[in-house]
């Protein structure tokens, strides 16, 4: 088991976000490099890794791998089946995005103790045209080919902004949204008059990734909460804030890389700000989208949208990204 990157990656992320992509990617810790000898099978245990390939003078993101996903199996299977030929090196690079825990199973263990017990149908298909072969030149693949029907630009966008971390990301189709703000009004009406999201955010093509808590797979906002008020619900998997134990230290708001946690004034039933006994200053508490979990079912912002412009999607799942955003951005 190896760890790559920094657990508190949000601080570096804020510094790096404005830098050119090439510079940012080159700083990402390399787990396995394309063109080098395939030494083992990598299993991601936590965090996200960028699957990339050299393209011209830069790196092209092919996919991002999350918890439970594997890297290097295709090369190992190929090398076992074609044992008389020269072995294939890794065909892609694997880099840690922020922080990654990965398990490496050595090649010998895989070929002797794992592959003989796996059905052929469950193994990845044979590599028809290997990009990297020892002693042979490398040719760039055309940009449009992609394993998933996700636009390469969108994929790079999601990874560069670390949005693939979101499991309940609010995505607004700006080609459907009339800016009526019914979503904001519905949110405000169910959260004591103050909406817990902002209908603004990074945009790629028609898709706006609104500033609403994404209930991340790797919620860095939870790191360092002194009372454990911000926690992941065991049943729903949502990241929630316990109002009874939140002391308003701003730790979560400052560590959320997406600025989706905000500090709001605590009010009484009549909407008046509650004041601290000693300082007479308003008491602040962390506030963020709770997916209307107290009311159950789907969030009211989504239910209130009259134009079906607002969706919640799991960006950590490339299949779902492809299904929801893939076709629209490509057309």
């Amino acid at each position: 088991m190896e760890s790559f990157g920094n657990l508190e990656w949000y601080a570096d992320y804020r510094k790096e976000i404005g830098k050119p992509a090439k510079e940012r990617i080159s700083k990402e810790p390399l787990i396995a490099e394309e063109g080098t000898y395939a030494t083992g099978l990598w299993i991601i245990r936590g965090g996200f890794a960028r699957l990339s390939r050299l393209q011209g003078a830069g790196h092209r993101t092919l996919a991002y791998l999350g918890k439970g996903e594997i890297f290097g199996l295709q090369e190992l299977v190929h090398n076992q089946n074609q044992s008389c030929n020269a072995p294939l090196p890794y065909q892609e690079s694997l880099r840690a995005i922020g922080y990654v825990d990965a398990l490496c199973i050595p090649k010998l263990t895989v070929t002797e103790h794992i592959l003989p017990f796996v059905r052929r149908t469950e193994l990845p298909p044979q590599l028809q045209e290997a990009r990297y072969q020892f002693g042979q030149p490398v040719i760039d693949a055309p940009l449009e080919t992609s394993e998933y029907s996700v636009d390469t630009g969108l994929l790079e966008f999601l990874v560069d902004r670390r949005l693939m971390n979101g499991q309940k990301t609010m995505v607004i189709d700006t080609e459907r949204c009339t800016r009526c703000d019914d979503c904001v009004k519905a949110c405000a009406s169910t959260h004591g008059g103050t909406p817990v999201f902002i209908r603004e955010g990074a945009q790629y093509g028609p898709w706006m990734f609104a500033q609403a808590c994404m209930h991340c797979e790797d919620p860095v906002c939870m790191i360092g909460c002194p009372t454990g008020a911000i926690h992941r619900d065991r049943e729903s998997g949502l990241v929630n804030i316990n109002e009874q134990t939140c002391i308003g230290c701003k730790g979560c708001a400052e560590s959320c890389p997406y600025d989706n946690v905000r500090m709001v004034t605590v009010t009484d039933g009549k909407g008046r700000a509650k004041l601290d006994h000693d300082t007479r200053l308003p008491i602040l508490q962390a506030s963020k989208c709770d997916m209307c979990s107290s009311s159950g079912g789907r969030p009211f912002c989504q239910a209130a949208c009259p134009h079906d412009a607002l969706v919640r999607i799991d960006l950590s799942d490339l299949g779902q990204v492809s299904q929801t955003l893939g076709k629209e951005t490509q057309s």
């Binding site: 189709d173 700006t174 080609e175 459907r176 949204c177 009339t178 800016r179 009526c180 019914d182 519905a186 009406s189 169910t190 209908r199 603004e200 945009q203 028609p206 706006m208 009311s295 079912g297 009211f300 989504q302 239910a303 209130a304 949208c305 009259p306 134009h307 079906d308 412009a309």
Partner: protein, 269 residues
């Protein structure tokens, strides 16, 4: 229900309701019954159905399906109600009250809203940045202030008065005033294009620094136009929605008065 399924369901329901209404109307005619009473009550019921969308939006906490589905139902029910209304009033339209009722009938604003709801988002999405209508006035002020600084600096930088004079004459009114009502109703890019062309014509009189100032001003003209465009389009939609909403309630009052009058003076008819 997905979009296509929902549309199919709505179309089928509307056609079915319309066919059923016409069949019953035919039967009423055969039996020499009162057509107006039947169409009137059908119209009243369908109009009440139209108000359900407002109720659904108000009671968002109730689990009654997405508002998008209710909006679609509202639109199809609006078509149905309009057709029943035409049957009810007959042709030519009789009396001033019906005329007022016809005018108040929100179909026109509803249809325009329906069309704008489809076309507006694409027009807004074509602008590189998305602006919230509440933030636009502050952003417009910021751009105006920046443009003023750039234009005034150009004369200080030894570029002569070309840019500052042009700014004073043509750009100051553009940056510092709101667009006309006509622009709000039908925004166009004529003024933006004209200003950019005129600004480009000044290039021959400008030095290196002046050209840089000119480029900055051109960028600001574009930003101001984008802001105006967003403001106009969003305001237009909000005004139309408010008009539609107000008309629906005036319609409700007219319907109530109409029903009372009809039953009060039924014997005279």
């Amino acid at each position: 229900m997905k979009g296509l399924q929902r549309r199919l369901f709505s179309v089928t329901s509307t056609v079915f309701c319309l066919a059923a209404t016409l069949a019953v109307l035919q039967e009423v005619r055969h039996q020499l019954g009162d057509e107006s009473t039947f169409t009137g009550w059908t119209l009243l019921a369908s109009t009440m159905g139209l108000y359900l969308l407002s109720a659904r939006k108000k009671w968002i906490r109730l689990k009654l399906g997405p508002v998008a589905g209710w909006l679609q139902m509202h639109m199809y029910m609006g078509v149905f109600a309009s057709l029943v209304f035409l049957t009810h009033i007959g042709w030519p339209i009789r009396g001033k009250f019906e005329l007022a009722l016809a005018f108040a009938f929100v179909a026109f604003t509803g249809v325009v809203l329906g069309v704008l709801n489809r076309t507006t988002p694409r027009r807004l999405a074509a602008i590189p940045r998305d602006y919230s209508v509440d933030q636009i006035p502050a952003l417009q002020l910021g751009v105006a202030s920046d443009a003023h600084d750039v234009a005034m600096q150009s004369s200080v930088l030894g570029e002569g008065a070309t840019l500052s004079e042009y700014y004073q004459r043509r750009l100051l009114p553009y940056f510092q005033s709101q667009r006309s009502l006509l622009y709000t109703l039908a925004p166009t890019g004529f003024r933006r294009r004209a200003l950019l062309r005129e600004l480009g014509d000044l290039d021959r009189y400008l030095g290196e620094r002046g050209l840089q100032s000119r480029a900055n001003l051109a960028a600001m003209i574009k930003v101001k136009d984008d802001l105006d465009f967003h403001h106009a389009i969003q305001t237009r939609l909000k005004i139309l929605f408010a008009a539609h909403f107000a008309l629906t309630w005036s319609l409700a009052i007219l319907i109530a008065v109409h029903v009372v009058l009809v039953y009060r003076f039924q014997g005279a008819m």
